[in-house]
């Protein structure tokens, strides 16, 4: 119980710190025309996704209806309205990767992780996403896990790579 309390006070402090960062970012962009998307980028950088309560703060500060912010956030696939797993796997589905078998790699990941594409594993370890061209066509087929790029993939390589992150 005590432990939990400490945790929550840490959480609160962290939450405050994050919110401060958001407010700072908003201050920075507020007077700029078209501030919304840069602000959303900042929020996603800070939280890893776009939490609704934070978007309410954005709504208040930028004087934009929340519905409009939701409309923008849900339009762009780079933005996520739900939290993601610890490791986000992006499988490039650009043409070069597709022609070289990206679908099979994606399917294999889905089978191995037991999640559908765009889904997050039950243990919140992995989120599996199909993504637009990552521009590393020379390494096709390619996926990224976090910042790390894995290229020239074959489905059989999948289990081993995933194990590195488990």
């Amino acid at each position: 119980m005590e432990h939990q309390q400490t945790c929550s006070s840490v959480d609160i402090a962290e939450a405050d710190e994050k919110l401060e960062k958001v407010k700072h970012a908003i201050e920075q962009f507020k007077l700029m025309k078209g501030a919304l998307i840069p602000v959303l980028h900042e929020v996603q950088d800070i939280y890893g996704f776009l939490p609704e309560p934070v978007l309410q703060v954005v709504s208040e500060e930028l004087n934009l209806p929340l519905s409009e912010i939701y409309g923008v956030a849900s339009f762009y696939h780079f933005f996520s309205l739900t939290p993601k797993g610890e490791h986000v796997i992006h499988v490039c589905m650009g043409t070069a990767c597709y022609i070289k078998g990206a679908q099979a790699v994606l399917d294999r990941l889905s089978t191995e992780l037991k999640v559908p594409v765009q889904g997050t594993t039950e243990d919140n370890k992995f989120t599996l996403e199909a993504t637009r061209c990552l521009g590393a066509c020379g390494l096709a087929p390619v996926m990224t896990i976090g910042e790390k790029v894995h290229g020239r993939l074959v489905p059989n390589a999948v289990p081993k790579i995933i194990n590195e992150y488990k």
Binding site: K33, G34, A96, C133
Partner: protein, 625 residues
């Protein structure tokens, strides 16, 4: 603030550094200084080129030869297939797929003892015993690098190196000696057409905007490279960012704008970081900001990140995105040159287009117009990808044939497979066949064949590629990327995809094929923006050139390429099966049964055709039938 004389001084000071990065014909011990160029493009960075640089630096310092070697992280060399790539000057030795563990030997053998490190020398540079410079390989020989100039020869993060290679000379020339009209005239005369897909005359676009009598105008650089399979814009931003900044300032002067924006994909972190750094440097030198070169001309550039919407490559959608809205296109007219960002005259040029500008100013319109064909001037960068030996980025003069690019530069099809099709223009383009290989590459020829230049993606397909599946792939993309505003694109692309799904699922009818064509034509005619107007091209071109494949799916329930899952099944060849049981253990649907050391059998009713058995079998006993 730097004045013209300051830039000259920088040039003099830095020139010698650049001179070292040339192939001189010298070899062995006569060389006293070497430049080791390590590709720092996204492709090579992905395969650890940063670690290689660190290892190089460490080895060099441990040998105490820092004064005889420089290590430079450059932009993309183009031959991504072989990455990470390291080139050593002045010999021009090209090392491919270098690994960290190669570095000690490479440093010792080549940099210390003057003998190329044999293990990682690019095969194609071997000529008997002799090792040729990379420039003599098929991949590089036919290329003409204008837009990709400096990519691979300078450190993109060092502005002095850009300045030393004639950087900001064109801006100086424009601001001090040319009128706005002269600049526009030069660009018009050069015949430069937009490299982002539209192919509109750049000079004409500038002229429209210049004519607008408004106080505020904008220059936007469209770096929302969306074509899945094209990455030239990213490479330019990573390898030569100042060329884009310089061109934007020139454009600003020409049309009367003092504010620029670059709209770049957030998925390109390296490009964003290098470009932002370049902006800082340019500001620090006074090459951006107020009173550039003391001429009274002011120009600033801000970076805006895209957020994952292909449609934002469309001019009006891009504008709305910068304005902070959903990237939904609006009708043209009014054209952005008249009514663009926040209602003000705006020109939007693609990265590659802009990368040509400074060279056009410096070398003259005639020089540029002398390259290429009558209506398509200059060069075009292509991203070669798919089933081709040399995957990578190439810049070729317009008018070159598809065959030259695919088979000479690209090295043909790997694995002894047969060429089937080449796709240009990305999701807006079409698939061309064997019979088109000798057609020239230019805007109008490609369009007349039912494809288009697009932004320069060039995907090669071999006999293992199903063309119906390719059409389905592109439609899946456009359906996903449609903004959803106009009816034909929003619902039409969905219906096209559904019909294609039906066909690849083996349930298609002749009526579907007819409807597919009909609806495609209507979507082209009636859609609001270029995304919808071109979305059906992959369908129409594959129906036109690969109708027999569609027919095979519909009438014979066969996928000739063996790709479409519903039309194939997996079988275990009892002769080849050793009964190792690996497939049975890996099968996610428990469809494989058998006894160890005896042939296994797949139950077709339970098989979900995931292909895991095919992948894992070490004896090639699993076959697609």
């Amino acid at each position: 603030m730097k004045l013209l004389t300051d830039l000259d001084a920088i040039r003099t000071l830095t020139q010698s550094r650049l001179d070292n990065r040339r192939i001189t014909g010298a070899s062995g011990e006569s060389i006293t200084f070497r430049s080791v160029m390590v590709c720092g493009g996204t492709g090579c960075t992905s395969s650890d080129s940063n670690t290689i640089i660190a290892a190089l630096e460490q080895e060099i310092s441990s040998h105490g030869i820092e004064s005889q070697v420089e290590v430079v992280r450059t932009g993309c060399f183009g031959l991504c297939e072989l990455g990470p790539v390291v080139i050593v000057y002045p010999e021009g030795i090209f090392y491919s797929r270098v690994e960290v563990k190669d570095i000690p030997a490479l440093v010792e053998q080549h940099l210390l003892n003057g003998k190329p490190y044999d293990k990682k020398i690019y095969e194609k540079t071997r000529h008997g015993e002799e090792i040729l410079s990379f420039e003599e390989t098929d991949f590089y020989k036919k290329q003409v690098r204008i837009a990709l100039r400096n990519c691979g020869t300078i450190d993109p993060e060092v502005i002095d190196e850009y300045i030393a290679s004639d950087g900001y000379k064109a801006l100086a020339q424009v601001l001090t000696t040319m009128s706005r009209e002269q600049v526009i005239d030069t660009v018009k005369q050069s015949g430069l057409r937009g490299r982002g897909g539209g192919g509109f005359l750049t000079g004409l676009k500038w002229e429209f905007a210049a004519k607008q009598n408004k106080q505020q105008k904008y220059v936007i650089c469209n770096a929302d490279e969306g074509d899945p399979g094209a990455f030239m814009d990213r490479s330019i931003l990573e390898g030569n960012p100042h060329s884009v900044i310089e061109a934007m300032a020139i454009a600003g002067y020409a049309i009367g704008a003092n504010q620029g924006f670059i709209y770049v994909r957030a998925e390109y972190p390296i490009a964003v970081q290098r470009f932002t750094k370049a902006l800082d440097q340019a500001r620090e030198y006074g090459l951006l900001g107020d009173d550039i070169f003391g001429t009274g001309f002011t120009f600033n550039i801000d970076v805006r990140l895209g957020a994952g919407a292909f449609v934002c490559g469309e001019e009006t959608a891009l504008i709305h995105s910068i304005e902070g809205h959903r990237g939904m296109p609006t009708p043209k007219p009014p054209f952005p040159a008249v009514e663009g960002l926040w209602g003000m005259p705006t020109i939007i040029n693609n990265v590659e287009t802009l990368a040509n500008i400074a060279q056009i100013i410096l070398n003259g319109a005639e020089w540029y117009a002398s390259i290429g064909t009558e209506k398509s001037k200059g060069t075009k960068v292509f991203a070669l990808g798919g089933k081709v030996v040399n995957t990578g980025l190439v810049e070729v003069p317009m008018g070159i044939t598809l065959r030259e690019v695919i088979f000479e530069i690209g090295g043909g099809i790997p694995g002894g497979k047969k060429f089937k099709a080449v796709q240009t223009g990305g999701p807006s383009g079409g698939c061309l066949t064997e019979e088109h290989l000798d057609c020239t590459i230019d805007f109008d020829t490609l369009t007349s064949l039912g494809s288009m230049m697009g932004s320069g993606g060039m995907i090669i397909m071999d006999e293992d590629t199903c063309m119906v599946d390719v059409a389905r792939f592109y439609l899946d993309f456009t359906r996903d990327e449609s903004c959803g505003k106009c009816t034909p694109c929003r619902i039409g692309t969905k219906r096209l995809l559904e019909m294609l799904d039906k066909i690849t699922d083996g349930k298609g009818t002749m009526e579907d094929l007819e409807n597919l064509e009909q609806l495609s034509l209507q979507i082209k005619n009636a859609s609001l923006c270029a995304l919808g107007q071109t979305a059906p091209n992959p369908v129409l071109s594959t129906i036109k050139y690969f109708r027999d494949e569609y027919m095979a799916h519909i009438t014979d329930s066969k996928c000739p390429a063996g790709v479409c899952k519903s039309l194939i099944s997996y079988e275990i060849d009892a002769e080849l099966c050793r009964g190792c049981s690996l497939c049975a253990r890996k099968c996610p649907s428990d469809a494989i049964s058998g006894k160890v050391k005896e042939p296994y059998v797949i139950d077709k009713a339970t098989c979900i055709k995931c292909g895991v058995c095919f992948d894992v079998c070490k004896f090639k006993a699993v076959a697609i039938v």
